[in-house]
């Protein structure tokens, strides 16, 4: 079984982002970039499937600027076998990313595509579902457990009220949630080995996909700031304030 795993390069989750003064976006120059945390979980799951003998090959795919190659290297150091970079300096929106992935799936014929449930920059939570739709494949989103069977997979999902288990035919698209696994840190020897693993670079044009953005960003602004609050010395004061000042209890 071949697994394609999506890895997006995003502003590191620990960075306190700053909105640009001209409101065109968020400052990304000289900001620490990392693999989208959900994608680390997707890579970990793919590598575990390989270690268990279920998967035979894990291909890490990123779409974005040349530097996204570093994100692919991280995936290779975690245990992916090879990488594909689809190079683009343009704003790739989820529908475009899904179409590019579809073109790669047509080329690579994987049995499983694993993605994150959400990219922590655009917070869209769309790409996996879109890809599954375009391929006419089933989708198993927000995964907290993956069990690959013969021709189908039993997938447990985090839903509003708890957990749900579904069975989907293979091939399928899975998007992973936080509690699927804990991603490993790449060891130094594996980081060294990853340097020799192949990364193929494609241009968007090679895949014949129209990636023109459908949404234009009119403005990006700071959210409204909250009024500064007060510190209360004890529980009695807190209860008094909640009853008589805020009147919420």
């Amino acid at each position: 079984m071949k697994v394609l795993v999506a890895v997006k390069r995003v502003v590191d989750y620990n960075v306190k982002i700053r909105v640009k003064a001209d409101k065109t976006g968020v400052e990304t120059a000289n900001v620490k970039m990392s693999m989208n945390p959900f994608d680390e979980i997707a890579v970990e799951e793919a590598v575990r499937l390989k270690e268990a003998g279920t998967a035979t090959e894990v291909v890490a795919v990123s779409m974005g600027p040349q530097q996204a190659q570093e994100t692919i290297r991280t995936a290779l150091a975690m245990g992916a076998d090879r990488g594909i970079l689809v190079k683009s300096d343009d704003d790739l929106q989820p529908l475009a990313v899904a179409k590019l992935f579809k073109a790669l799936v047509d080329k690579e014929s994987p049995d499983l595509v694993l993605m994150g449930k959400q990219a922590i920059d655009d917070d869209s939570n769309q790409t996996g579902q879109m890809l599954a739709g375009l391929l006419g494949w089933p989708q198993a989103t927000f995964l907290s457990k993956v069990a690959i069977g013969d021709g189908s997979a039993t997938m447990t999902r985090e839903i509003d009220g708890g957990l749900e288990t579904v069975e989907v035919k293979m091939p399928c698209v899975g998007t992973v949630d936080l509690r699927l696994n804990t991603p490993r840190y790449a060891s130094l020897p594996n980081i060294m080995k990853a340097k020799k693993k192949p990364i193929e670079t494609l241009e968007v044009g090679d895949l014949g996909v129209d990636v023109a953005p459908r949404l234009t960003t009119v403005a990006v602004e700071e959210p409204p700031a909250r009024q500064a609050g007060v510190m209360v010395p004890d529980v009695a004061t807190l209860v008094d304030k909640l009853r008589n000042e805020a009147k919420v209890i």
Binding site: D160, G162, V220
Partner: protein
């Protein structure tokens, strides 16, 4: 403009998120149809007909839609999607799972988790865990949108009397089937629509201690929430998680106990009207958003709070 709102419901009644999506639909402006699909969902369809401003309810009652599996549900929505300029669903599991599939098959973008409507083509949505607000304009003929429940008032519900029409089921793509579910049952109010939420974090220390949160919540008639760390540690079930990647809440009162206030947690609760934080670390970032901060050991403060509320 013709707008389709996809209802979230439990077959008997519509859920609150549907009312928020309805408000967003009314702000866009147009003729609103609500789709209620499920198994034995006639009561929910009748309930949807009572929402103020709805002109028609489409009811599709079939075992195919019992669990809103994305593949058959998207196929159903696609049988009618092209009759509408806007398709809206609440940003709950159902909407987040199904709508992007619909959008892709219509070859349009989805506008996720909107928190505001500027005009029929332009919407506001949070990005980077709500640390920035993006105003985006869509060039697509059909706008597919999920709506953040905490950001919109609930549409009035009770006086409406829209007609309910049956909608035929679509062909089953036969790609997926439901196996089972484990729901965390609770008598407490639902997290995303509760007036008061009490949340516990890693500071609770254990699943046993987490019961302090539940006791306090019950005294206040509140829902219980949790930080990711508390869920990961097994103190609380996954569906209690509040934050960027959990539930978004905006109650009148949010009480955070033993939660540090990471940006990912703040993303899910910083629009609450009144925020209380109890934490023993005075430097904890949660105090930056708290209206009332109490630096204290929670194992003393929470029982004291319970006693004070009881008196």
């Amino acid at each position: 403009m013709a707008i389709l709102v996809i209802a979230d419901h439990d077959n008997t009644a519509i859920r609150q998120g549907t009312l928020a999506a309805m408000t967003a639909a009314q702000q866009i402006g147009g003729d609103v149809t609500v789709l209620v699909a499920g198994e034995g969902c006639r009561a929910a369809a009748d309930d949807a007909a009572k929402i103020a401003g709805v002109s028609k309810v489409l009811c599709c009652d079939s075992p195919l839609y019992a669990h809103h599996l994305a593949e058959p549900f998207a196929a159903l929505i696609l049988t009618i999607a092209r009759d509408y300029s806007h398709i809206l669903a609440p940003a709950v599991t159902m909407g987040k799972n199904t709508l992007p599939r619909v959008a892709a098959l219509l070859d349009v973008a989805q506008i996720s988790d909107i928190s505001g409507v500027v005009d029929a083509d332009t919407f506001v949505r949070p990005i980077y865990a709500g640390n920035a607000m993006a105003t985006v304009k869509s060039a697509d003929a059909i706008k597919v949108i999920t709506v953040r429940g905490a950001s919109f008032d609930k549409a009035a519900h009770g006086d409406g009397s829209a007609a309910v029409e049956d909608l035929a089921a679509a062909e089953d793509p036969g790609l997926s089937s439901f196996v089972g579910q484990e729901l965390s049952s609770s008598e407490r109010p639902e997290l995303t629509s509760a007036r008061v939420v009490v949340s516990g974090g890693r500071g609770m220390g254990s699943a046993e201690n987490f019961h302090h949160i539940e006791t306090l919540a019950d005294q206040l008639g509140a829902a219980v929430g949790a930080s990711r760390a508390a869920v990961d540690a097994g103190y609380a079930p996954n569906d209690f998680q509040v934050g960027q990647t959990g539930k978004i809440v905006a109650p009148e009162l949010y009480i955070a106990v033993g939660i540090s206030g990471a940006i990912q947690h703040l993303a899910g609760m910083k629009d609450s009207k009144v925020i209380v934080a109890i934490n023993k670390d005075e430097e904890a970032p949660i105090f930056q958003v708290a209206d009332y901060g109490l630096v204290a050991d929670l194992f003393e403060a929470v029982p004291a709070l319970e006693a004070a509320l009881a008196s």
